[in-house]
Point group: C2
Chain length 370, copies 2
């Protein structure tokens, strides 16, 4: 496979050379002393990025596995939940809750909008039976970031549980688990963390652990209490994906050196550059409202007369730039540019230049003045 | 961490240099054309090792995740199952079924014995309500291999479902999924496959897929129908652990070159050498019955007056040999030597020599004639 592609999908994201190198570490005893130290070091670093004093538990699974863990560890069949959805991943979170027997009340928005905290406030005020709110921080399928802090405020005021899909936001854009009062916060190694896929990270508030005591949804592989109980020993209940731990350890060191504030600023800059760049090519953003435009992924409407698949093929085959298509009902209507994790000006510049060349090849006329 | 240890635990097992190198492959689009080809190539190779015409589905999870998938995809809450257990992993399989609401009838043996197919026959004859039998092929905690083919015969005759934990057996010792009539067969990448942990492999028979249609246990991350439906596209429902796929691809190529028969013969030879070696040091095997002695892991009784932890520490710190301790009720009573996957004469020789030197250091008197 080609090794020099500019991978501009919203995960898996490019991984720095030193992290790739760490992936080749020989196998070790996953319950030995040295690996215990690594697990604990990684877990401590993750706490800093989560801005939490709670344990961050590390599951060998994708982000979706982490979302399942969030649901089944705090809820019981029959519990009513408010599932706020602004896209495919919001729908997925709701589907998980439904699968495990929650009574799901949907609060759906158009796939280009952010959720309105006032709608959440009203929904909770109208229905005292709602135990928990499920919300996506950054909707990867639409490139829209929800006003999570504001949503969290109304959920806290109403004293319900708040489960957050922060898979494509955490470590790339501000999120303060404890200060904002998030109860279950989930992310995945292959997004902003500059590491390969394979691990999901979950933090549970004290309220969530309290709920866990009476949560009746069945769980075994994703039983978070088992992970919590073994963390002081530097172990996981089941054999972990050790190679990704080795990679993540190195990635977190690099991220700590850069520092959270600078990481956030870099993501904001790359996102701004992407949005301005595609607009200067005459293209339209799916998310028209700049306030909610995602700093980790940009969804662009595919212009009339252009096939998304044709554009993506030319970008990849001729210019070595890999972008994502649309998901579910946005399939064939948008393409998406990922700009999270390892991303610098040069990556975005190359992406925009490739677009400028590829678009006319698939039937699009560039604006005369740009 | 030390890079030159002789890792003699029953997983994660040592990984060949070319597989480790493949783990450093840069990230790719997990839904792109090239990775689709890799997924399909790996899945085809796995079918050969499973000796099955059914699809082999690849989950991003440990072997335990694969066992959970086996249970929840073919059973409903309230279903009665016969859980055959000869050790810690048999107990775990039963615990998963119990967690998801199966009515578990335990058929337990002493932790040193193999299961008797006649006991299974009687249990099934006595109780027509038993829908499925759960069995461990090779019990990693005791170093005992069950007579799976004989057990499968009685389960087939009684027309029940057979769910098999083949985590530490498949690809190392003979197992014929289709010919023996196994319904759900589960293994994991970090055992005989010479690859790092992170992936579980599951094959489902037609009977199992039929049962799947009415199986009511909740499942989302481990919903095998989603995996089956996406395999023809070379995709997985959730972001896969791509690095382990890259490693596995190379490992399977190496294994195909060696060939199944030679792999089995090598494992038999290494196991024989291990058993004779420890016995010549005056040590006693946990499994006294040679017919059921595992060819992938050997459990050795720790001699009186010797602390398992002290022995393991000396072996690792002074001789670079890492062996496993006992699990659950065997903790402190045995140590275990893994000999599966990447293992050659030299590895076993070094292990035995280290034992010969280490044992006297922790209070054991070697036999005068050996």
């Amino acid at each position: 496979m080609s090794e020099r592609v500019n991978l501009r999908i919203p995960g898996p994201t490019p991984v720095p050379p030193e992290v790739l190198e760490a992936m080749s570490h020989p196998m070790v005893n996953h319950r030995g002393r040295e690996f215990a130290g690594l697990i604990q070091r990684v877990a401590e670093r993750l706490k800093e990025f989560f801005c939490t004093n709670s344990d961050v538990l590390i599951l060998s699974a994708s982000g979706t596995g982490g979302l399942e863990a969030a649901v089944v560890n705090v809820l019981s069949p029959g519990d009513r939940v408010l599932a706020v959805s602004i896209g495919a991943f919001g729908d997925r979170f709701a589907a998980i809750a439904d699968t495990y027997g929650a009574e799901v009340k949907a609060l759906n928005y158009e796939w280009c909008q952010a959720a309105d905290p006032e709608d959440v406030r009203r929904a909770l005020a109208d229905d005292a039976q709602i135990r928990a709110v499920l919300v996506t921080h950054n909707e990867t399928s639409t490139g829209v970031t929800n006003p999570l802090q504001d949503i969290a405020r109304v959920v806290r005021e109403a004293e319900r549980l708040l489960l957050v899909d922060a898979v494509s936001s955490l470590s790339s854009i501000p999120l303060e688990t404890d200060a904002w009062g998030l109860d279950v916060t989930v992310t995945g190694s292959q997004k902003g963390w500059m590491a390969p896929p394979g691990l999901a990270f979950v933090a549970m508030s004290e309220r969530a652990w309290k709920a866990n005591e009476n949560a009746k949804m069945p769980r075994f592989y994703f039983d978070l209490a088992r992970y919590r109980d073994l963390l002081p020993k530097g172990q996981t209940p089941w054999t972990p994906t050790v190679s990704v731990f080795f990679g993540l350890d190195v990635a977190l060191e690099r991220m700590a050196e850069e520092g959270m504030e600078r990481i956030f600023a870099r993501h904001a800059r790359m996102a701004q550059m992407t949005r301005q760049g595609v607009q200067s090519l005459g293209l339209e953003l799916l998310c028209a409202d700049e306030r909610f435009a995602s700093n980790t992924v940009t969804a662009v409407k595919c212009p009339d007369g252009v096939e998304v698949s044709a554009l993506r093929n030319v970008l990849e085959d001729e210019y070595g730039v890999v972008v994502a298509g649309g998901q579910a009902k946005l399939s064939g209507k948008i393409f998406r540019i990922g700009h999270l994790g390892l991303v610098e000006e040069e990556d975005i510049k190359q992406t925009l230049q490739a677009l400028e060349k590829a678009l006319p090849q698939v039937g699009y006329t560039l604006p005369a003045y740009r």
